[in-house]
């Protein structure tokens, strides 16, 4: 949490409009029996503590090290991902798309903010922002370059716009020079941005 985090017990400063609106809604829902403090804690801690891109990194590392797993993963994403214990809300119908030397995949949701929660957690602000949503479908090569990802001119870019309940996860290329690394070590290399498709996975320096 940033230092914007406010303390529910003491307010030296006036409360902002949006803070007051959020509290008003949340407290009314509690009053009506539709929300509990425990429900809030459960949902927040799930995505702050448990469900994040480390899940996806484990999936990727397994696919890099286990050819049979990779085959299952590309054939049936949710089943293969569930083998590692991940699945559920906003990941009911996951499809894994594989980067190769010839093809680079990148994921967006132009209409809202769809994202594979069970493997990546909640999306970063930039993923939900107008610049990314408006641009990556039209000029993916320029957007990737802004993320430091320069693709050869003949690499075909595939942009996946999550307009339905299919959630796309990019299987990045395993970087050269990582043959000696363990599955856990490999998972440590895999970034959220590589699984969205805006970056590549780099070998350790």
């Amino acid at each position: 949490m940033s230092d914007h985090h406010h303390d529910h017990g003491h307010h030296p400063h006036p409360i902002s409009d949006v803070q007051a609106r959020a509290r008003a809604l949340e407290s009314l829902l509690r009053d009506k029996g539709l929300l509990t403090p425990g429900a809030v804690d459960t949902l927040v801690s799930a995505y702050e503590q448990d469900i994040g891109p480390l899940n996806g990194a484990k999936v990727v590392a397994r696919a890099w090290t286990d050819p049979d797993y990779k085959q299952r993963l590309l054939a049936d994403g949710p089943d293969a991902i569930r083998e590692l214990g991940f699945g559920g809300l906003q990941g009911e119908h996951m499809v894994v798309v594989e980067n190769t030397p010839e093809v680079h995949n990148v994921v967006v949701c132009t209409l809202c903010s769809c994202y594979p929660w069970p493997v990546l957690g909640l999306p970063p602000v930039w993923y939900k922002s107008a610049p990314y949503r408006s641009r990556v479908v039209r000029e993916p090569r320029a957007v990737l370059a802004e993320f430091g990802t320069e693709l050869d001119a003949d690499v075909a870019i595939r942009v996946w716009d999550s307009s339905a309940e299919i959630r796309y996860l990019v299987l990045p290329e395993r970087p050269a020079g990582t043959e000696h690394l363990s599955e856990d070590e490999l998972a440590g290399l895999v970034t959220r941005d590589a699984m969205i498709g805006v970056q590549k996975v780099e070998a350790p320096a």
Partner: protein, 228 residues
Amino acid sequence: MNGVHDMGGLHGFGPIRPETGEPVFHQAWEQDVFASVIALMAQGVYNLDEFRHAVERIGAAHYLDSSYYDHWLSAAELVLCEKGVIDQTELDRRIAEIKADPDAHARPPAGGEDPLAEALTQGLQAGLPAHREVAAGPRFAVGDRVVTNNLQPAGHIRLPAYVRDKPGVVVMTHGAHVLPDTHAHDGDESPAHLYTVRFDGERVWGEAGADRPAANHVDLWEPYLSPA
């Protein structure tokens, strides 16, 4: 609904600004909003498509100049008032009370038995699958050439404008999924076969404007498609 939420291809929003070390939530009120929205959806107060359509209806200028969780908050206020779960008068009064006393109506610590929290833990695991079994087979197969229909309803639809009235090729079939167009309005699931359709970038964006080689992929329901 033709609106600013359908922003694929728009110019003028500037550079993408990733944040290093970004937290999951930036402010505590975002946690309240996130939890409120998900908890009510999990309890079936509204469905995901209704909620998405509410986000589309918060007002175009507000959509463009407010943060993501403000979108959610505005949409929740809208849909919960429309459904009569809360009313605008009590909401306004409650906001005024909190503005007057920033400690008012603060959430107490969690404690004791909490069946809702337990149900939500299970709900996160189970998810809300959109796939449905239907008797009818799919009209299209992988490799089929299709053209998207020129559908511009005032209501909810998940056919982005940039691929409307454009030719493409089916690259995946997904069985039948709940149709957002009806589900967002009356809860009618009307499941329809869902396809991933590939569009050539140059066809979508024009020869002059397209990065190449590049292709756009969009998930589209059978009523959005005609044979090419």
